[in-house]
Symmetry: C2
Subunit: 405 residues, 2 copies
C-alpha cells in the first residue's frame, strides 16, 4: 500500500492516466440522424449559399416595384410559381406571377406583394390564366425577397469545432446539404464489478450473497455522461477468472472501470492481478471511497474503485464523471453553497462526501448515516455534501459546498 | 381561417389536445439496463431487507466485544469468512474469525476489529488454522457491524412514484433484487415535413428545391425531450400522397407533428387534407410561426407547424417541448432575464421570438434578422428573446425575458 494521497492528487493521476486516450480519440463520420449530442471536431464551412436561390418570403404575387408604385392597381396574372418549381421563369414587365413562400423569384421581379394585400379575380373557368390581381399598396424593391446567400455564403463558417450538436445545429447542417458530420468518437468504457458475493444473473440469492448494484450504477453513469458502455460484466474473486474477464473487456474498451478488490482484505482480486502489472493501489484521504487504484493494461487505462456501492458511486462522481462530461462536451458541474440544516461530524484527515437533500429554502439536510453500504439512502439523496479534509464538525446554519447528483 | 389567437391560447389548445393521450399513456415494465431517465409510475417498496443480512463493515476479525475489552489481547483464529460465504458460521467464545467486508457476521460475534488494529501470526505452514491475532484496542458491541435492514426494511418505500431514474436509483433497485421496473411508456411522436420543394434522400438538388432541415430538427428535438421518434418522413404537396403518409405515421404514433402546408398559399396540403377532417388551422399572434393548426385523426392528435425552418423550430420550442419534457419528467425550463445589447424593433400585435446570443456579462445580442428562413443564424443562437405582444421597440440596456435553447 502506498501512503494516502489527497482527492485532488488522485484526480490529477486519473486525468494523466486518461489524457493519452482522450487525445487520440479521433473523429468518425456519423449520419445527422445519429449525431444529436455529438461534438464536432473541426470548423464546418458551407458548400452552398443559404438560401440556395433567390426566393419569396411570402405567399403572394411577384411583381416589379415600379409597376405597383401607384397602387391600388390591377395587373394581369401570367402564371404560377409553386414552391419546388424547377424551370426558371421570367416576369413580363407590367404583369404579376403568383408565387408561393420559398419558390424561386422570377427574373425581372424585385418584390413580392403578400396575398393579404391583394384581390384576385380568376379568368374563364376559374383559371389563373387571364386572372387579374388588384394590388392594394405599393412595396419597395427587395421587400419580401430572400436573396441568395443572405443567411450564409458558400465558404462561410456553418458550425465551429467543438459544437455539441443540438437540433438547431443539425437543422443548419441539413439545410446546407450535409448528410454526415465528423464528430469526436465517443469513449467506450467497460465495467467489471468484482466479488464472490455478487449474485450472477442466472443464480439464486443465498446467505452471504448480494445483488450487484455497482454494475448498473456504473453503466448508467457512463451512459449519462455521453460515453458508450462497451461491456458491463462481473467477476468473482478468482484471479484467473478476473484476468480472463479483464482481457475480454480491455479488448472492447478505451477505458475500464473495476469495482471492489482493492482494499486490505485477504481476497482482493483486482489488487492481486493488477499490482504485478504495475498498478498503483492505495488509500485516498476521502470517505466514502478510501481504497483506489489505477493501472494501464495493454495500453488501456484501468480505474479501480472500491466495492461498497456508495463508495463506487461517489468515486465515479468525483473522479470520472467530470472527465467523461468534458470529453462529451457537456458543461462542467460546479459546487453550490448551501446552509446545513443540522450539525455534521466528520473524520479529521479525510475529505467527506455525505449524502444530502437540498431544499428550496437553501438548506441541505443529511440523508441517513455516512456508511458506504447505505445504497437505498443514496437513492434518496440529491446532492453530495463536500466536507473539507481538515473539518471535524460543522454546526447547523454553517455554509457547505454541495455537488448536485 | 379562424381569427388570430394568442400564443397562450394556442398553447392551451395543444395542452388540451394532448391531455387524453398523456393520461392514457400507461406503464410498461423495462429491464433496469434500459430504464435510465424513465419515470416510475408507482411507489416501489422493497421486497427485502437492506442489507440482506448482518455483515461486516471492515476487513478484519469478528469477535465478542467482551473478549477484547482488556486489549491489547491475543486471540486464537478459528477460521475465515470471505465475502460470499454461504454456510452460517458460529464464533467460539474467546476466539476470533477472520472476516471480509460484506461477509455475513458469525453468530455470537458482536463487533469487528479492523485489520489495521491487529497483528496476525499465522500457524504452521503459514495456515490460518492455529493462527493468533493480537487486537490492539477494544471496541464496543455493534462497531463495524451492519445490521440487517439498517438501510431499508422489507416493505419500506424504495422509490416514490414519479422518480426520474438516475444511476443511484437504478443501483438501489438492483441492490433490492429488482430486475424490471414499471415506467411510464414514452410518447411515440411521428414527424411529417411537407413541401414539393423538399429534396428526398434519393434525389439531386435542382432549381427551386431545398434540403429538408425540419425533419432532423423535429426528430432531434423529440429525442432530446425524452420521447421516441416513431417515424420521421416527408410528403410532397399532393393531398393523396400526404393522406397516405399521414395514415402510415398515425398508425405508429401517439402524436404527429407536421411542418408546412398551413398558410394562405395555393398549395397548402396539410390544411387541404385536415380541414375537412375537422382541423383548426389559423393564425397565432407570434413571429416567427404565425400559421398553426391542430387536428385529431383516428384519435391521434396532429399538431401542424409552419414550414419555414426557424418557424418550425420556434413552434416546437414554444408549444411542444415544454409538454414533452414534463411527460418525460424533465424539469421545466423557465425564462431568464437579460439586458439587451442593442435596440430591438418588433411588430405590434405579435409576440416575437428573436434569436440571440447570451453573454456572461448578462447581456443578450441579436443574431442576424427576424426572418424565418435564417436557419444558419438560428444555429448560432443560444437563446430565444421573448418580446411581448404589445411591444414595438426596446432600447439597449432594457430587460428582456430569454429562453435557453
Amino acid at each position: 500500500m502506498t501512503p494516502a494521497v489527497t482527492v485532488e492528487e488522485h484526480a490529477r493521476r486519473i486525468e494523466q492516466l486518461l489524457a493519452p486516450v482522450i487525445e487520440s480519440l479521433g473523429a468518425e463520420p456519423v449520419p445527422l440522424a445519429s449525431a444529436l449530442g455529438c461534438l464536432t471536431v473541426a470548423n464546418i464551412r458551407s458548400d452552398v449559399d443559404l438560401p440556395l436561390f433567390r426566393n419569396s418570403q411570402m405567399d403572394g404575387f411577384a411583381v416589379r416595384a415600379i409597376d405597383v408604385a401607384s397602387a391600388p392597381i390591377a395587373l394581369e396574372v401570367t402564371g404560377d410559381i409553386p414552391a419546388g418549381h424547377a424551370a426558371p421563369v421570367a416576369l413580363i414587365a407590367g404583369t404579376a406571377l403568383r408565387i408561393m413562400t420559398g419558390a424561386p423569384m422570377p427574373t425581372g421581379a424585385d418584390t413580392v406583394i403578400p396575398v393579404e394585400d391583394t384581390e384576385l379575380v380568376l379568368g374563364r373557368d376559374d383559371a389563373l390564366e387571364g386572372a387579374i390581381v388588384t394590388v392594394a399598396r405599393a412595396r419597395s424593391a427587395g421587400e419580401f425577397v430572400r436573396e441568395r446567400g443572405s443567411d450564409l455564403r458558400r465558404g462561410d463558417l456553418l458550425l465551429p469545432a467543438g459544437t455539441r450538436l443540438a437540433p438547431r445545429h443539425l437543422a443548419a447542417l441539413a439545410a446546407a446539404g450535409v448528410s454526415h458530420v465528423d464528430v469526436r468518437r465517443r469513449l467506450r468504457v467497460g465495467v467489471i464489478t468484482t466479488g464472490a458475493e455478487l449474485v450472477a444473473d442466472d443464480e439464486e440469492l443465498a446467505l452471504g450473497r448480494i445483488f450487484d448494484a455497482n454494475r448498473i450504477a456504473l453503466a448508467a453513469g457512463i451512459a449519462e455522461t455521453g460515453a458508450i458502455v462497451s461491456i458491463a460484466t462481473s467477476s468473482d474473486d478468482d484471479p484467473v477468472t478476473f484476468r480472463r474477464v479483464l482481457d475480454e473487456v480491455i479488448g472492447a474498451s478505451d477505458l475500464v472501470i473495476t469495482s471492489g478488490g482493492v482494499s486490505k482484505g485477504a481476497f482482493e482480486v483486482v489488487r492481486e492481478v493488477l499490482e504485478p502489472l504495475g498498478a498503483s493501489v492505495g488509500s485516498v484521504a476521502m470517505q466514502p471511497g478510501g481504497p483506489q487504484g489505477t493501472a494501464v493494461v495493454d495500453s488501456v487505462p484501468v480505474v479501480c474503485f472500491p466495492g461498497n456501492p456508495v463508495s463506487t458511486q461517489v468515486s465515479f462522481a468525483v473522479f470520472l464523471a467530470p472527465i467523461l462530461r468534458r470529453v462529451a462536451g457537456l458543461p462542467a458541474r460546479s459546487a453550490e453553497t448551501r446552509t446545513l440544516a443540522s450539525p455534521v461530524q466528520s473524520v479529521a484527515g479525510k475529505r467527506q462526501f455525505l449524502r444530502g437533500v437540498a431544499s428550496d429554502d437553501g438548506t441541505v439536510a443529511l440523508v441517513s448515516g455516512p456508511s458506504s453500504h447505505l445504497v437505498a439512502a443514496m437513492a434518496r439523496a440529491d446532492v453530495l455534501i463536500d466536507i473539507p479534509v481538515e473539518t471535524t464538525r460543522l454546526e447547523a446554519g454553517e455554509s457547505v459546498a454541495v455537488w448536485m447528483l
